[in-house]
Subunit: 142 residues, 2 copies
DNA sequence: GTATTTTTGAAAACGATTTTCATTGTTGGA
DNA sequence: TCCAACAATGAAAATCGTTTTCAAAAATAC
């Protein structure tokens, strides 16, 4: 249940090793409340750990996604963002093109309609992606 | 109203020129029923027009998007797909991870709920993206 | 037609990400 | 505890999709 442990068990299961770098990256990742791009994340990490390599961060974030404690996102700016997956409900995003703010939301009614649509087309859904792009209250001038 | 004319007017308005290549690419694009990646599209084009350049195709597809007769899509495989925008309703996608099939759908109820969610967060939506990933009937073995 | 300006295609550049490779670190036994 | 085996690291090079550069060619304006 604790996310750190989930990742450690994942490593063991896969015959991978627990390293100082992976622990550092895991800590930073779990304490990250925003949606930084991989580069932003790397730069943040580097302030405290100047000797950590770019490639290691990329590799480790991919491991997080494989393990299931992270999910890769892509909001159209050509950069991947990894987001900590919670045990809670799936959520979607509101993205402000003015200030770049990223808000999360969830709506069961939308999820149910999605399932219905998929069923109607004979699909079995494994995951979905819903993003609303526009202007937040501030940027829209309200 | 005719899409070809829309693009020609767009060119004139922008002080751009109508060229043989742009006409060829426009024709191919308008006759394309599927969702090819830019590379697939280029390869298809090339069969009939071996002398056309990669860069020209990229540039022209971007012009289509700017003009409004096309919309860029990205289904997570790192490649951009341009899709002909119809004058009809906006639509979303079902993507089969088995065979790569891409189905289109639309659902007003989902659209309405999206607007509601945005409003609740003070957002003004400009566009949205909804993609359902999973297995189509065939690939799911039904 | 001719001048002006844009477009083209090939190749180089680009930015994000991945891979390579020699070195270092980790781990599960002797 | 030490060692052998193997995985992980970091720096640099490679890769992939896309964009830009640049000289030559084509399109429009005059």
């Amino acid at each position: 249940m604790p996310r750190k442990q989930l990742f450690r068990e994942f490593l063991t299961r896969k015959g991978l090793k627990s390293t100082r770098q992976r622990e550092i990256i895991l800590d930073e990742f779990l304490h990250c409340a925003t949606h930084p791009s991989t580069e932003e994340f790397y730069l943040g990490l580097r302030e405290k750990n100047p000797r950590i390599g770019y490639a290691t961060v990329y590799r480790t974030l991919k491991l997080f996604a494989e393990c299931g404690i992270a999910a890769a996102r892509n909001f159209g700016d050509g950069q991947t963002r990894y987001e900590s997956t919670t045990t809670e409900e799936h959520h979607d995003h509101l993205i402000c093109r003015g200030c770049g703010a990223i808000l999360e939301f969830e709506d069961d009614r939308i999820e149910r309609l999605q399932s219905e649509v998929a069923r109607k087309h004979g699909f079995v859904i494994e995951k979905h992606r819903l993003e609303l792009y526009g202007l937040c209250g501030n940027c829209a001038g309200n």
